[in-house]
C-alpha cells in the first residue's frame, strides 16, 4: 500500500472534511440535475414506461415534444408490414380545463363558486392508454385494476402528487372541459411539474371529443413480437420508411428526451450555478483540509527530504493523496445522492441518475480534489529538513 493511501485510511478523520465537502458538492450537482431530469421524465413517462419497443415520429423530430412528432394515419398499416411488428397504436394527447366538484352547484356563476372556496380551474395535460389487455400504450407498471378502472367511460387516473393541486381525491367527480369525469384511480411515480397531467382511456378521450380522428395521429407506439433486439428492427423499419419517418428505440428516445432538458436555458443556468458553487465550496474546503493534513505530517515529510527523497516525489505523494480523497468523495457523493433519491422517491419525487451523469460528476469531483492538491503543494516548501535539526 502506498504512503498516500495508508495515510488517508489511517487518518481518515483528518480528511473527513474534504471528503464531505466533495460529497456535498457532488450531491448539489447530482441532486439538482437528477431532479430536473426526473421532472423531464415525468412528462415522457407515459411513453418511456410503456411496452412499446419502438416509437415512430416525423423525420425532423428530435424529442417526444420538441418537434413534429405526429405522423399521417396511413403509416400505421405500413408499419404493420414489418413481420416482427406485433401491435401499432398512435399515442394521443390533449389538454383541457379540469375543475373539481364539491358541494357546489356547477351551474353557479364563477364568482359564487369562488366565494364558497371552490378551486379555480386548472389546465391539464391529458394522456391516454388503450384499455384492451396488454395494449402497447399501457405503461408496464400499471396494475390490472388500474386499467380496469380506466376502462369505465368518463374515468380518469391522476398521480398522487397531483391530486392536491387539482383539489380532488379518489372517487371524486370533476369537470373536464365541462364534462363530468370520475377520478377512478390514483397513479404513483408519475409526478408532473408546471402543468398537471391526467390519464384517461382513448375511448373516454373520444367521448369527450378530443381524440385524433382525422388523417393525422400522434407518434406511433410499436410493440414487437420479440423485443430483444429493437435496434435491428428499428433500423429495418427506418429503411422501409424511405425517409418518411424516423423510428426510435425506446431507450434512444428516452436519452434524447433527457438531453433535450439541457436546451432549456433556465435549467442550464440553475445547474451551471450549482456547478460553480460546488466547485468553489469543494476546492476551498478540500484545499484547506489537505493543507492542514500536510502540515500535520510536515516533519515526516521533512525527514524524507533529509534522507534524499526529492521534492518532486513529495509532490507526487500529495497529488496521489488528493486523488484518493477525490475517489472517496465520489463514492460518498453517489451514496448520499442515492440515499436522498430513496427519500425523494418515498415522497414521489424522481431523482434520475443516469450513468453518464455519475461519470461526469465523478470525474469533476476528482478534478476538484486534484486541483486542491495542486493548490496545497506550496505548503510542502515548509518541509525543511534543516528545521528538524536543533
Amino acid at each position: 500500500m502506498s504512503l498516500a493511501l495508508a495515510t488517508l485510511l489511517y487518518e481518515w478523520r483528518r480528511y473527513m472534511a474534504a471528503v464531505m465537502a466533495l460529497a456535498l458538492s457532488g450531491l448539489l450537482v447530482l441532486a439538482m440535475t437528477g431532479v430536473f431530469i426526473g421532472i423531464g421524465k415525468g412528462f415522457t413517462a407515459q411513453i418511456e414506461r410503456s411496452s412499446a419497443d419502438i416509437i415512430i415520429m416525423q423525420p425532423g423530430a428530435k424529442t417526444l415534444f420538441g418537434g413534429p412528432s405526429g405522423v399521417p394515419r396511413r403509416f400505421i398499416p405500413q408499419v404493420y408490414n414489418h413481420p416482427a411488428v406485433d401491435e401499432v397504436q398512435p399515442f394521443d394527447m390533449a389538454g383541457g380545463t379540469f375543475q373539481s366538484v364539491r358541494d357546489v352547484d356547477p351551474t353557479m356563476s364563477q364568482a359564487e363558486r369562488a366565494k364558497m372556496g371552490a378551486p379555480k380551474q386548472n389546465f391539464v395535460m391529458t394522456q391516454i392508454i388503450d384499455t384492451n389487455e396488454g395494449a402497447v400504450t399501457i405503461p408496464t407498471d400499471y396494475s390490472e385494476e388500474l386499467v380496469d378502472a380506466l376502462r369505465q367511460p368518463y374515468t380518469v387516473a391522476i398521480d398522487e402528487t397531483t391530486l392536491p393541486k387539482l383539489g380532488v381525491k379518489l372517487g371524486d367527480k370533476a369537470l373536464y372541459n365541462g364534462q363530468t369525469v370520475t377520478v377512478a384511480a390514483v397513479l404513483s411515480g408519475y409526478p408532473s411539474m408546471m402543468q398537471p397531467a391526467i390519464v384517461m382511456s382513448r375511448d373516454t378521450l373520444r367521448r369527450v371529443g378530443q381524440a385524433d380522428t382525422g388523417p393525422r395521429v400522434g407518434p406511433l407506439m410499436v410493440k414487437l413480437a420479440d423485443g430483444s433486439q429493437p435496434e435491428i428492427v428499428s433500423a429495418q423499419i427506418n429503411a422501409m420508411g424511405k425517409g418518411q419517418w424516423k423510428a426510435w428505440t425506446r431507450d434512444e428516445l428516452a436519452q434524447a428526451n433527457a438531453n433535450a432538458m439541457f436546451e432549456e436555458g433556465i435549467l442550464v443556468i440553475i445547474i451551471g450555478g450549482c456547478v460553480v458553487l460546488g466547485v468553489i465550496i469543494g476546492v476551498a474546503i478540500t484545499w484547506q483540509t489537505l493543507r492542514g493534513a500536510i502540515m500535520a505530517n510536515i516533519k515526516e515529510f521533512a525527514s524524507l527530504r533529509a534522507l534524499g527523497v526529492s521534492m518532486g516525489s513529495l509532490r507526487r505523494i500529495v497529488l496521489e493523496l488528493s486523488f484518493w480523497v477525490g475517489c472517496v468523495g465520489v463514492v460518498a457523493a453517489i451514496t448520499l445522492t442515492w440515499l436522498i433519491g430513496l427519500l425523494a422517491s418515498a415522497n414521489a419525487v424522481i431523482i434520475a441518475l443516469p450513468p453518464i451523469l455519475l461519470i461526469i460528476v465523478g470525474g469533476g469531483l476528482i478534478a476538484i480534489a486534484m486541483l486542491s492538491g495542486l493548490l496545497s503543494l506550496g505548503i510542502l516548501r515548509k518541509s525543511q529538513p534543516a528545521d528538524l535539526l536543533r
Partner: protein, 252 residues
Amino acid sequence: MNAHTKVHGAHGDFAVEAKGLVKRFKSGRGFVEVLKGVDFDARHGDLTMVMGPSGSGKSTLIAALSGLLRPEKGQVDALDVDNLWKLSPGRIDKFRLDHCGFIFQGFNLFPALTALQQVETVLKYQGLSKDRARKRATLALEEVGLGPRLHQKPSSLSGGEKQRVAIARALAKDPKILFADEPTSALDGENGQVVIRLLRRAASDHGAAVICVTHDPRLEAWADRVIHIEDGVIVSDERRVPDPNAVLASHH
C-alpha cells in the same frame, strides 16, 4: 575525482571534509554568525561526536555538511563529490538519497505506516524493487532488534523502539555518512544506550562515517573522536579509544 574523501574508504579514510564554513542568520537588523570559518573532517569507520552547548552551531554544522543548509562561505567535499554546494539542489538530494542517513531527536515516523513500511518507503525511492526493499527493510529492523515488531505502527511502539525504527530507516540505505542529531535526548538511559551502541556498530561494522551531534557528555565513551564547538568555533578536537561496553547510566 576528489583527492581526499572517498566513497568506499577504508577505516580512517576521509568521508567528509569541510573548509572555512561560514553561516550567518538574520537576526533583527543584523546578522548572527553561527559558524565562523569552521574546518571539519570525518572519517570512515569513526563515530565522531560533535558536542557543545545549545546555540553553539553544532546542528548548523551538520546541516551544512549534509547539503541541507547552504553556508555563506566555505567548501564541503563529501565522498566522491568535490564541493557539494556547487551541485544543483536535485543533485544534492540525489547525493543524500544515495549516501546519507539521518537520525533526528524527534523520530518523524509517518503515523500511518508500520515499522516495515517506514523503512521500505525510503528504499523504494532509492529504486529498489518491492521484494528487495522488503528484504532489506526486514534485515535492517532485525539488526536494531525490532524483528518481532515489523508490523507495528508508531502509536504502539515505545520511544526507544521508534528511534530504532528511525535508525533502521537510516541504516537500511547502507549510508556512507550517517548524521545523528541529539539521537538520545528524547530517550531514557536504557534506550539511549541501545541507540548509541547501534551508532557505534554502524561505524565499526558498516564503516560509515557517523557524525553525532549531542550535548550529552556521557556519550563520549563510545566515540572515536570528540569535537567541541562553541560560538561557531571548534575549540577542541581529540581522538580517543572508544569503549564499546560502556554503560549509560539511567536517568532514573
